[in-house]
Amino acid sequence: MSVKHDKNIIEIEDISFAYGSTAVLKNITFNIHEGDYLGIIGPNGSGKTTLLRVMLGLVRPSTGTVRLFGQPLNKFRDWSKIGYVPQKATNFDPLFPVTVREVVEMGRYGKRGLARRLTLSDQLIINQCLHNVGMLEYEKKLIGDLSGGQQQRVFIARALAGEPKVIFLDEPTVGVDVQAQEQFYSLLKKLNLEFGITLVLILHDIDVVANEATEVACINQTLIYHGEPKEFVKGDYLQNLYGKNIRHILHGH
């Protein structure tokens, strides 16, 4: 599927946010286009998670508006277009008694509506999502019994189950080993290129942004840069943000 990256699906306009008197985000404006693979990066405490939460309507900005698919957030109702993979480590209890399949079913509820049961066609879509992330054979396992990388793929399957147009991911590879990270990023690439799903990721690894993403948004309270990763890596942005030894930090591990 080829996508032109010229249709705005998320419009962020003059967003500011403050906790009490501490400014977290200041006057952020940019658009996310259909088919983008956007990596959001920035130092710790730069407000990137807050920005993601503002886009999802989880927190209300002090000023500014976000439009999803042309609709302002407070009027937006078509949430099944949005898939969300929260930061895993803080959001789930390994002892929680749910199987892989039960987790992916959750992603289908929004499509079905309140109080309705999932139908056979829903179950087939869930099978397909599990298959796409390579987790179908694990469907009866408890989510807490899987490795970090496998769990993350299950959460992708859950996001896919609602047949979304865009998936938001908050630092998806925290706690995932390096080999599984590679598999994970090739899965994301497949979703972006083959299924045409727009991806918005918070990332902490600048190499991943450079190699995987088609767009980068660099945030440090204000929007420092938004555009192609190549230009970003060439520029002085990184040094200004992280200090002179950024290259050593990135390649030293």
């Binding site: 999802l56 309507g57 989880l58 109702r77 949430w79 099944s80 949005i82 969300y84 993979v85 929260p86 959001n91 789930f92 209890d93 002892l95 929680f96 008694p97 749910v98 199987t99 399949r101 039960e102 987790v103 079913e105 959750m106 992603g107 509820y109 929004g110 309140l114 109080a115 009866k140 408890l142 019994d145 859950r158 609602g162 938001f168």
Partner: protein, 272 residues
Amino acid sequence: MFQIFHYSFIVRGLEAGLLLAAIAPLVGIFLVLRRYSLIADTLSHVSLAGVALGLLFGINPLFTAVGASVLSSVAIEKLRLSKKIYGETALSIFLSSSLAFAIVLIGLAHGLNANLFSYLFGSILTVRPIDVYVMVVLSAIIVILLLIFYKELVFISFDEEAARVSGLHVGVFNLLFIIIAAVTIALSIQIIGILLISAMLVLPVVTALQFRKSFKTTLLCAEAISLSSVLFGIVASFYLNVSSGGLIVLIMLAVFIAVYFLKKQKSGLIGW
């Protein structure tokens, strides 16, 4: 052998007890997984204040207990959301102040008599026919609501944020759930007593969790433990002439201990 069923108070006690045994794990599984277990204790003490109000004004204590418990549950949820006060601080304020209310009101009503003891530890002798009817209606409503919104509640309990992004009105469900929990707790007062309610809500669920199965299987397993413990507990309490509430909880505890060590042995981790 079946002479026990000639006593109408035993039959009523069994009816009421089994109704509770059926709804307790449905509510308890969400309380346990959401780390809300302490709310059960708090609301049970609030229910005691409700009972005291009923005794003072000559109203059926079951009604006043349900009323007090539901009103407080809404207030607790609002306080928790306001974030001006820590969640567990709100709970302990409600717990001790409603106990204070209860003790003063009961003193005004009758003086501290044996009746209080049956509310603290449960006694099927206090269950009247009207109580059973009220329990049937309220339990049916609770079961229907929980079955209708089962998948939403599972989603919210597992991942509240993703549930919110999927378009669910999480606040509405949280409020609905805490009201359901409040009604369940108020209903259990006569059978199990305020001091033992949280054990009845929590123990079968915690036992079932040891099996590490799917959500559905865990819930069914908790139901089986709950129903059989209550049935066995009430019948045995009749023959042994001891408190039914205490015996039910002891049976649940025994099942938990047995399952816990059985699973531990199986996974090869013998000993503490």
